[in-house]
């Protein structure tokens, strides 16, 4: 696959945002994922060429961050936090149950290509534990049942809305484009901070 002139010009516009070309490596990797769903060899070669880096240097970055996928993931990539707090609050149980429900293990994708599963590390939302992220959108205070419903909905093309963030859940590729810095115009949609996060602030405002 080779990139279209439009895609190249988007890449150029991303590069133009930085004083030094090489700084654009991370958004470009997301951009590649927004096109192919994962970091393809063509993507690595193109980024290396555009940023005047070696392909090895691009590989080093793309393999370091777990957000960059060496293999295709599902249209809905479900990350279940299994770090300490979420795990004890139910994350481990959710992971096991959903894994069994879907018949896939960690880092695997359902045959229909709709859902993939990942044990993720802390996403800075411990106050909503157990937390699940789908395509990096928050699903707070989850239960085994809510996540089963979530993945079932996702597989039929009808996933529930995230707790915070946009009103409808976007696909992996769509959100990868957002991470590449290309706005989908939804940044203002839905709540960004929830009750638990604002509790302390509200208490202090009330003078308590």
């Amino acid at each position: 696959m080779s990139y279209s002139p439009e895609q190249i010009s988007i890449m150029d516009s991303i590069i133009a945002r930085y004083p030094r070309k090489r700084s654009a490596i991370m958004p470009l990797l997301h951009f590649v994922q927004s096109i192919s769903g994962f970091v393809t060899p063509e993507g690595i070669e193109k980024i290396a060429e555009l940023l005047e880096l070696s392909t090895a240097e691009v590989t080093a970055v793309s393999t370091f961050y777990t957000q960059y996928k060496p293999e295709p993931v599902g249209e809905y990539h479900v990350g279940i936090c299994t770090n300490t707090l979420c795990a004890v609050m139910g994350g481990d149980a959710i992971f096991d149950a959903v894994s069994e429900h879907l018949g896939i293990a960690n880092d695997e994708t359902t045959k229909d290509g709709k859902v993939s599963l990942e044990r993720i590390e802390c996403n800075a939302a411990c106050d909503y534990a157990p937390v699940v992220m789908v395509n990096w959108e928050f699903f707070d205070n989850q239960t085994i049942q809510s996540v089963k419903d979530l993945v079932d909905g996702a597989r039929t093309g009808n996933p529930p809305a995230p707790t915070r963030g946009p009103k409808t859940l976007r696909t992996w590729k769509e959100n990868s484009a957002v991470l590449a810095g290309l706005s989908d115009g939804l940044a203002g949609e839905g709540p960004s901070a929830g009750h638990a996060s604002l509790l302390g602030l509200n208490l202090s405002k009330e003078g308590k």
């Binding site: 060899p41 690595i44 070669e45 290396a48 880096l53 070696s54 392909t55 090895a56 240097e57 691009v58 590989t59 080093a60 393999t63 370091f64 777990t66």
Partner: protein
Amino acid sequence: MTPENAVMTDVEMVTVVIDGFDVTVPKGTLVIRAAEKLGIQIPRFCDHPLLSPAGACRQCLVDIEINGRAFPKPQASCTIPVENGMIVKTQLTSEVADKAQKGIMELLLINHPLDCPVCDKGGECPLQNQAMSNGRSESRYEGVKRTFEKPVSISSQVLLDRERCVLCARCTRFSEEIAGDPFITLNERGALQQVGIYEKDPFLSYFSGNTVQICPVGALTGASYRFRSRPFDLVSTPSACEHCASGCSMRTDVRRGKTLRRLAGEDAEVNEEWNCDKGRWAFKYISSKERIAGPMVRGEDGELHEASWPQALARAAAGLKGKRAGVLVGGRSTVEDAYAYAKFARVALNTNDIDFRSRLHSDEEAVFLASRGVNFNVSYRDLDKADHVVLVDFEPEDESPIVFLRLYKQVRKRGLKVTTLSPVLSRGSEKLGAAIVEDIASISGLSEKSVIVVGERAAEVIGQFTSVVKLAQSTKAKVAWIPRRAGEVGAVVAGAIGNLLPGGRPVADPAARVDIASVWGVESLPAAHGKATWEILEAAGDGRLDAVVIGGVDPLDISSEALGQLLGASTFVLSLEISHSAITAIADVVLPVAAVSEKSGSFLNWEGRPRFFEKAIADSLTRSDLRILSMLADEMGTPINLPSSQAAAKELQSIGEWDGAKADAPSVSPATLTAPSGDQAILHSWRQLLDLGTLQNGEPNLAGTARAAHVLISANRAKSLGLSNGDLVKVSTARGSITAPAQIGKISDSAIWVPRNSIGSQCIANLGAASGLVVTVVKA
């Protein structure tokens, strides 16, 4: 006070206490280095004095306090610079530091396979050694170790065993910082972190072998040395590299008469601690099947037959005595051998027809070399300090790799300005950030702190040496001549060229001839201007010479006619060679000579710095060229009395440098080139570092990393020919053609470039020329 001292006193010094001892070091010195000054060795893996600090392995932890305030936990001594008031306690005086180091060692060993008995590094391994000196004697780890497939090849010559890697990042830092080839990186993270390449792009760096040498464990190994020996079975001899004029100091490791590996030696002034892969791995030629075992004489039947030394020498003497003979010396002679050839030509053959230039050459070049004398007064240090370096017909990465590394170091460190006079921006030039200039007149910004480096290919451009000298005179810039081969500078000094006697004495100067005649104990020396290589060949071809003595020359390095010229006439050919070649195939007498590892001697690198080496293969019975020439001269009744390289070196030294007038600088006006049109282009080429050179024979792993032949063309030419990268292009002359994949790159629209002597692209054999010629370029 010398300027160096002046610099020393300018440096701010800092005194610190390490393990109770005061040590005063320049500000900015790392704690680990300051400790070394006291003889205190802190264990380390990632630390390397020539690489930027990384703090990657944590093995060098020490306790530090500054002005009474202690760091809360041990610190990596390889990343912390000394400060006034600093008190350092190493493992020798601090239990905390000692325990921390032992803890780190234990962690490093958790996933280490401990397969020392089958590891090349075993016996010379910093991990093995420091695990003994600074680790626990028994492992407490009972879990399952992480395993990786072992080994994987990251190029045809470097193997990676990830299980053994301690993630010190020495190899990756070297590749990026020193070689400018960041083709290996630390990939993945956490427990899976590993060194790797991008799957489709192997580690093709001319300097890759250095990573094998500096890897502090057996994670990187050389394919050619793997499983061949244990370090304690090797006998090591300091040596010098015979491949190029950079002049690397080397170490040759021999086991039972066989060279098993060569390593970069340390010489801060020259190669620091590095070398190139050719110097490291191209040594198998000495054990090739083509090696000549004993003297050979051509019989009545037209075939070569083995002969005894007395027979062969008698036959050679008969072919040369009283005859009109010329001498061609290969560019890889040692100074001592070149001196023997120079003396042999004058004393035994009574001629100045001798030339070491077994490549394209010109009279202008010979005049340039004579006018320069033998005290070059330019060195690596001048490159280090230069404000501007101009490369004229010289590609350092391919033609003198350590010069490239030195330039690259300054480019990285302080943005050294580099300009290259060339129609091509090579990969090396690109790494140097070089500005491309096509016309010497448009080079500006030179001062007395600048260096103009002129390569041997300047001889292929009429008037180039003249222009270089003029440019240097008008700007006061220094001029360095850097030929490609290791023996050429020494050959100039030894007088192995038609216009110079030893020590830079002009043949044309009667006083110079008297000088040398008296040292050599002969009445007089021939006064006629000696012929150049091409003239010697021509004279051999048309019968003006009766005989030619040839030492280590590949005729196809000179011209496509050379062999025919030698063959055509009834010229007597004496060949002194290591291995069978095109020349031995036509020679009347073949005398086998010793390779570098089988003799002692020296080269002069481009600075004129002697690079001595000792005989590495102690029991070799082969004889050096000078020994053989000496025997032959005796046989002819005109002795040259050079029984050993020591004798030759001593005699040459006693002759010393010429203090009389030097030859005038060349004055040749440049030729005006006709601009090519349509499908035509001007041919441009040079030899890539790794190519079909005969001294690289017998080492397929090395050859596997050579850059493949391609035709470099400009984007405009590609467009007009309808070519994309990788499409085949045919470059042809009346003589023949080269067909190779196109590579669109930075090259002038009127030029094309092909490698001069690579697989599928041998300019002289295929095209009959190597540069400057108008060729036809079409889509194949």
